[in-house]
């Protein structure tokens, strides 16, 4: 599904990703953890095609094609979805309108007919129930005035509507209370399937109790310095990142 090889990326004159290797197979859930500023969001941004990030080396292959060659919207239509760490507020752009336009672009790309208003609303209601979303959020401008938790819920709701094949969730858990966390995790789990992969960026093991990953990676200083199973997350929670960063094998610059 996703094959990242020796990926280097910079922002401005700053080298942030310094050789990432990661393979995500269909149906797998990978968690990425790591200290603040280690490059997790940068990696997510490079995969989604964020402007201002320059790939200075390496390759990313998605479903057999060069992902880096595609515009952000082409990636989205191919099935890449990024749940933003900081979803932007867009006054004047209606949430439902955006979703309908986005979904129809995706469907067009897949060779499916566009949904009419009725079918769209049926789908929306079903997915809103999944996330226990408040109806009113739908008719409001994108994220405008949403609470932190509502923004994160909205991200997962959009994912549920767009049905991506690769979902990258960037700290979707931060800012959620435990009930909201359970709901959001429930929504994510409902979308797990053998042909959908997920990359879940988080600081907290807690989320991984609900979204149980197949693999856990530690990103530090722009590299994946350790990979393991779900136990690794527990170990990180207990010991912090210090013990990994000081390991000589991965400390070279």
């Amino acid at each position: 599904m996703l094959e990242i090889r020796d990926l280097h990326a910079s922002a401005g004159d700053r080298q942030i990703l310094k050789g990432i290797n990661l393979t995500v197979n269909a149906g797998e859930v990978h968690a990425i953890m790591g200290p603040n500023g280690s490059g997790k969001s940068t990696l997510a941004g490079v995969l989604a095609g964020r402007d201002g990030l320059e790939v200075t080396g390496g390759t990313v292959t998605f479903k057999g094609q060069d992902l880096l060659d595609l515009e952000p919207e082409e990636r989205a239509r191919e099935g890449v979805f990024l749940a933003f760490q900081y979803p932007v507020e867009i006054p004047g752009v209606n949430n439902a309108y955006l979703l309908k336009a986005g979904l129809n672009e995706v469907r067009k790309h897949r060779g499916e007919p566009e949904l009419d208003a009725m079918d769209f609303m049926t789908l929306i209601r079903e997915r809103m129930a999944l996330l226990q979303m408040d109806d009113t959020l739908l008719s409001r401008p994108v994220n405008e005035g949403f609470s932190g938790g509502e923004k994160k819920r909205n991200e997962i709701f959009q994912m549920a509507v767009l049905e991506p094949t690769l979902a990258i969730l960037d700290e979707t858990d931060s800012g959620l209370d435990i009930d909201a966390l359970k709901t959001v995790a429930g929504g994510v789990n409902a979308l797990r399937s053998p042909d959908r992969s997920m990359v879940v960026v988080t600081h907290y093991q807690r989320l991984l109790n609900y979204i149980v990953p197949d693999f856990v990676h530690v990103l530090s200083g722009g590299r994946i310095v350790k990979s393991g199973g779900k136990e690794l997350a527990l170990e990180l929670e207990a010991k912090g990142y210090g013990w990994i960063e000081t390991e000589p094998a991965t400390a070279s610059v």
Binding site: G49, R50, A76, I90, G92, G102
Partner: protein, 440 residues
């Protein structure tokens, strides 16, 4: 058409000819005389004048415009081709400043409301208009006001009797068409809204052809005590067309006046709105939405003159500029000594879609009362990169994303437009006219 010498001479000659051709009431003839002398003395403004510093009207000064006579051949097909909004109510059509009865209708006006041609009123009923013409639009210091007044022959007169509510908006359509000759049109509109009446007046300005023309319009509106007047000026001049427009309004006690200045096209478009809040508790809203592209110059000038206490004013102007277009916004707020408890808000926001587009904005506050609230702000920005990325990451094309964001920028102004046909058409025009490619 006769060949006219360039420069002031041609205007003098044309003024003399026009004065001879029209049998006007004495009071008006002398107002026109005074106006021409003012114009002659002032000449066209230059960028050395403070109010015109960023608005170079040399292309207007240098074109030998001709004041046309009636154009009776202008027909319905030509009018339809302009696809102006259909408001479904009374509609007065003017071509090169002259009323066109065959293209107009006053069906559906309630009793106590009249919508007539100024030329006709000047013959049949001059006392209705003479006390008002030129009272708000002063000729002394403004060359274009003087020019319009000097050539004043026809226009629209709308009278709404006390307490009458007019449902259907009254549409005034001003078309300039020279058929290859650079014509100047000087239409005039006078709206007299008597106490507690309510009316909506929509001015559509449009033009034809590739030849430069000047549409120099003046609208005077008297909003009596308790009256509610909503006014719209929608400017869709031809690419080569120049439009200078003055809107003058005087607001009585507890009246409510709003005006929406919408500039969609034209080579040079200047819109001035000067409002005197002249009765306690009056409320005035001046909104503006302007698009600029190519080499266009779009200039908005407002004066909000708070003359009496307890008046509120709101101003929101938004511009969307691409290409090498330039925009000017000068918003003057005057709060006179008497005008305690004034609440005046002003905001100008511009969205620049290209590197070469430019906006100059200058708020001007002249406050003589001490217990007042005045806020003003101006912002100039580009489309938000993070929002663009967000929308594209949700599968929208870059063009779609840009269009949505541009639309969103204008959304609050559009939502204030209460006439559905106008709002819907603007919605469509915004989508059609806006450059969505990254280059603008």
């Amino acid at each position: 058409m006769t060949q006219i010498a360039t420069g002031a001479d041609s205007y003098a000659a044309q003024f003399a000819a026009s004065a001879q051709a029209s049998a006007l009431p004495n009071a008006l003839a002398s107002l026109r005389d005074d106006a021409f002398h003012c114009f002659d003395r002032l000449g066209f403004p230059t960028t050395r004048m403070e109010d015109w510093r960023f608005s170079n009207v040399a292309p207007i000064a240098q074109t030998p415009f001709v004041a046309p006579e009636r154009t009776p051949t202008y027909g319905q097909a030509a009018l339809d081709a302009l696809s102006l909004p259909k408001l479904g109510g009374p509609e007065l059509v003017f071509v090169n400043g002259w009323f066109m009865p065959g293209l107009s209708t006053t069906d559906g006006l309630p009793a106590g409301v009249r919508a007539r041609s100024l030329a006709e009123v000047l013959v049949s009923d001059p006392d209705t208009v003479l006390p008002h013409l030129g009272r708000l639009a002063r000729i002394e210091n403004h060359a274009f006001t003087a020019l319009n007044t000097a050539f004043l022959r026809d226009g629209a007169v709308i009278e709404i009797g006390a307490g009458i509510v007019v449902d259907a908006p009254i549409h005034l359509v001003f078309i300039t068409t020279g058929g290859g000759v650079p014509v100047m049109s000087q239409p005039r509109a006078l709206v007299l809204a008597d106490a507690n009446s309510q009316v909506r007046v929509v001015e559509s300005h449009a033009g034809e052809g590739d030849t430069p023309y000047l549409n120099n319009t003046l609208t005077e509106i008297v909003v009596a005590d308790g009256a509610v007047v909503d006014h719209y000026a929608i400017v869709r001049e031809a690419q080569a067309g120049f439009r200078i427009g003055g809107l003058f309004a005087r607001l009585g006690r507890a009246s409510n006046f709003s005006s929406h200045a919408i500039t969609l096209s034209g080579a040079i478009v200047r819109h001035e709105a000067h409002v005197v809040l002249d009765g306690e508790g009056a409320v005035c809203t001046l909104n503006g939405l302007y698009l600029g592209n190519g080499q266009q110059l779009v200039d908005n000038q407002t004066t909000m003159d708070h003359a009496k206490p307890h008046c509120d004013s709101y101003e929101l102007y938004k511009g969307i500029l691409s290409g090498r277009s330039r925009a000017v916004f000068n918003g003057k707020i005057i709060v006179r000594l008497d005008a305690q408890k004034t609440d005046a808000k002003q905001s100008n926001k511009a969205l620049l879609l290209s590197e070469d587009a430019q906006v100059t904005t200058k708020p001007q506050l002249e406050i003589f009362a001490d217990d007042v609230k005045c806020t003003h702000g101006a912002t100039v920005g580009q489309l938000d990169a993070e929002s663009l990325f967000y929308l594209r990451s949700r599968a929208l094309s870059e063009a779609q994303a840009r269009q949505l964001l541009i639309h969103a920028f204008a959304a609050d102004l559009l939502s204030h437009i209460k006439i559905d046909a106008v709002r819907r058409q603007l919605d469509t025009l915004l989508t059609e006219r806006l450059p969505v490619g990254a280059g603008g």
